[in-house]
Assembly symmetry: C2
Homo-oligomer: 313 residues x 2
Amino acid sequence: MKPINILIVGAGAIGGFYGALLAKAGATVSVVCRSEFNLIEQSGYSIESRDLGDWRFKPQHVLRHSEDYPEQADYVVLCTKAIDVSENLELIRPAVSNNTAIVFIQNGVETEQAFIDAFPDNEIISGLAFICCNRTGPGQIAHLAYGRLTLGSLTNTISPKAEQLGAFFNAAGIECRITDDIIGARWQKCIWNAPFNPLSVLSGGLATQDILNSQEPLVRGIMQEIAAIASACGHPLPEDIIERNIANTHTMPPYKTSMLLDYEQSRPMETEAILGNAVHAARRDGINCPHLETLYALMKLRELQLAQDPNTD
Amino acid sequence: MKPINILIVGAGAIGGFYGALLAKAGATVSVVCRSEFNLIEQSGYSIESRDLGDWRFKPQHVLRHSEDYPEQADYVVLCTKAIDVSENLELIRPAVSNNTAIVFIQNGVETEQAFIDAFPDNEIISGLAFICCNRTGPGQIAHLAYGRLTLGSLTNTISPKAEQLGAFFNAAGIECRITDDIIGARWQKCIWNAPFNPLSVLSGGLATQDILNSQEPLVRGIMQEIAAIASACGHPLPEDIIERNIANTHTMPPYKTSMLLDYEQSRPMETEAILGNAVHAARRDGINCPHLETLYALMKLRELQLAQDPNTD
């Protein structure tokens, strides 16, 4: 494959893992990582994957800031948590040049416009990861399950740039699907995230199966609201999507959501990206979503309480 | 006043305080108390009240069980938490005779029918307490603020039995109002309890003012649902009740709800009496209450999590 330069920004577990895959497939991959900089610069990443084996990933450049990147980036891949969009935009801006495609692999809905506004002349590729991987130690990443990626250009076409990147992922052994409706794909993922992420936190840490077994009508009510909002936004979801998500969740192993992991580790939660943006879309389009409104307000209260007294929980 | 025999069942802070008031006014008051039995039998209660002074309350009889009560009770006053109705009924049954009026001073809505079914031939008086009092040590009760009682017979009349009991409370210095619509009065109190009790727990412990300042639209949405349910149940609430509750909460001192206190002390919460019964009434009468449904489901999840892992919080 044609050599390509990729800069990963936000090289934690997910960014490090996907960077390691791209490098394995022959791309020239550098990383911006601020925590563990010294260790990564010296030794790179150690990847342990149940499905893909173990390997080391030595980035071409390990950088503290993207402005230190000395190459022309074909792709800048943003893998930070979707917490602060404008901060994220500033993190990548110095490494973005005319021909750079910007890829963001993040949770959430309705996060596109900020990228379009900030980089009107660049191709922007939105990415969704279905993956379970964790940092298990300094520079150590364990890939536990899944890994599938969905990429789609915000031009809503099957773009060559997205296909090229997808080919590297597929070559490395991770299924990467290219879609011409990534916005619809984000709403499809939100069907699951919108109930289970906040309910896992607000319940005090229940696993997804316990939530579903105990309060399936609430889960369905939330999913129906997301489907109504997606439809109003011009992305009607497949008819059976709720049934499929309910059935899949029943057969999943006990699972801690990303929001619950963030909560337990006192990290900021993706409340706005996952829940707030859906609620704001509903308000804009006149869709009634009282379950989501209640969850969103409760998450804001929870965050207020954590800010007041971060040590009580 | 005519001598009357009163048995208080559930003589914690609230039961002990109201018993002490009735004794102060000249009633013959006995108590059933299981915790602290020995201490109360020996020394009685010590009451410290900012508004009413300090005094000791030595019950006529201190009993472990109501079946040990050797008198004919004019009133049996149930002051336990509204957790398990059938257990409460069994607690009082042995002391109830033909002329006994049963008084329950408890939170919640729609708790009446169980009493009517269990004691069809007795007068039943429903009581609401607006009080802030705490147990401060063994046998010690501090009355911090408020204290007002509303009593109403389930016959929906101004009953002589309720008026007689109210006269004792008033004589002791506590305002006691007799109503012919105690069910409506319960829904009025529920307007405040239904939002603030669960939100204080689900937020992780926020004070009522922080909840209101941060999420007033949610609080109003919940209050509107309670008003709609009360109306469907034949007890339309005053037009200005939501505005009055919002305004009062803004001027209250920072306040921890009873449900939050129970939660913090790992005691069972009055989820069913305050929230579940309102939701069940809504379902029965075909009223849509998605905010309440969400809060109720979340409280059930919270309780499930506490049952799974009582030490994590």
